[in-house]
Amino acid sequence: MLSYINGPQTLGTGRGFWISFAVFCLVAIAYPFFADPYDVGNFAYFLLWIFMAMGLSIMWGYTGMLSFGQTFFFGIGGYGYGVLSILMGAEYGLTFLALLLAVGTAAVAALVFGYFMIYGRVTGVFFGIMTLSMTLALAYFLGQTAGPEWAIGKARLNGFNGMLGMPPLTIPWFGGDVEILDTTLYYFVIGLLFVIYFAVRILLNSPFGYVLVAIREDPERSELLGYDIRKYQIIAFIVGSALAALSGVLYTAWGQFITPSSVGLPAAAMPIVWVAFSGRRDITATTLGTFVLLLAFQTITIYSQQWALILMGALLLATVLFVPEGFVLGLARAARWATLRRRRAPIVEAEMRSEEA
């Protein structure tokens, strides 16, 4: 099983990659010891969005299904966690049960909607618009739940103003519960990211992952080769959507707040922007790029006031026009090109061309 960690579906297989990966992990673990606590909490916040991006990379980058529905499942996860954790309370580690149940609910919803769409042969841009429709319908629905009739027990959905009052994730501990916030949250999310990153790599390099890529490249041929492609597509859809729900749960637990704006437009377009920017066809690129983009967008917003959105737009536009394979992959290629040129200049061109092919 572990042998699937390296394979042709994921970039970064050599010794150099794994050494830098280990260094990266060590730096990430050591980071809170020398950084401002605010930055640690802020990084934890960026990291919690990455699951949603990874999910989209699996669906879109690897399987070829462009889903506008990531925030639909993000919303189910977030609101699900909110309702469940308010009803069950934060004692005895019940918030973790709320997390699992919320993600489970989203997975079931993905199964139902996925069946509806994928087994109805909805593909391509139709798939995108259908997922967009369901996302917007959920956002409109949540937006009009302001009244007292929209409550589950004492958990009020509270319409556009957003749902409040849920506890953060809480670990029962000797001498009092520990709330997972700031630095604790940072380590929690890093750990989760580590586990899920490896799990996704294994999934993608396993025979299952090969079929996903085959479906992306040519669904008809894959089907003629005897694969029930709809089964593979629906599993990819469920996994990707559950990851979005995980982001939703973590976001809600982080800020103890969620609103319908997290579901509707323009939020629904954001995962697509992150993944496209990073290089959707590789899970490592998506992971890194999403983090970089979130950090860059926030930094730009802090320092450039009214010009922020213009600068972000220019950054994205430049990426699309000049680095078509995505920001991270482009950087990786540039780095490799620079190092290789020093060593064996003449071979590079051919190598790059073969890679493109």
């Binding site: 109805g120 429709s133 920017f277 026009l321 078509p324």
Partner: protein, 290 residues
Amino acid sequence: MAAEIFSVLYQFADVFAFLILAAAGLAIIFGMMGVINMAHGEFIMCGAYVTTALVHQGMPLILAQAGGALAAGVAGIVLEITVVRSLYARPLDSLLATWAVSLIVTQGMLVLVGSSFAGGGTPEGSFQVGIYTFSTYRVILFLAALGVLAFIYVLFMKTRFGVHARATMQNASMARALGMRTNLVYALTFGLGAALAGLCGALYAPTMTLIPTMGATFIVESFVTVVVGGTNVLLGTAPAGLALAVVRTALIGWHGQIAGQIGMLLAVMVMIRILPNGFSGWLGKWARNM
């Protein structure tokens, strides 16, 4: 009774006009050319702003509206040459690029022109049927929507440009081999789509609040209509607009605006599920089986 019936028809015509006018430009840019144009709303905004600015300069409304559509068309051609041209092979990247353009344009407009723009007022007065009074201008909008549909049909089916455009979209290299100037055709077709979006903004400008993000009000409806219409724009857009307008009008009349909004989105899901290739795919099959 007559007043009630007319009222229902008027409501339907109003929703239909909104869907068709919002979708017409996108039907060409997205439906025909395959460019997922997230800046569609900004072409609409451009048309509305230019129209209103020209009205403030004292120009008659109808000329100002032509000016608005023209300005959006020129903006479209510029965008095609500078950005979209290099992305035809990568339709999903065109989504990202045009989204970036949309960010730049809306916020740029905010910085340059300010957060709002004084409106010009609706012309043409009103008329009465039974207990109700209706805005005459909104009937004109309905007629304009029909006019746009007819224009698209005639242009693409009956003119030389239309034949070239359809040939180019179907197989650009073949068209080029046959001596067509495909780059020009692409630029003009994109510009035409942008101009139609600008026309939508120009037509709605007198009736709406003008803010830089006003295009966002149109974007969902336009994408939904085009997609339900399917890949063949000439065949699909009108029936899609018709079907969605019926659903939406009925639901709004029955249970208010929110039912109309959510109901239309659910109807879109059901329609796509039943007709996975949109209305045009279904109509095409039906025509072949005849």
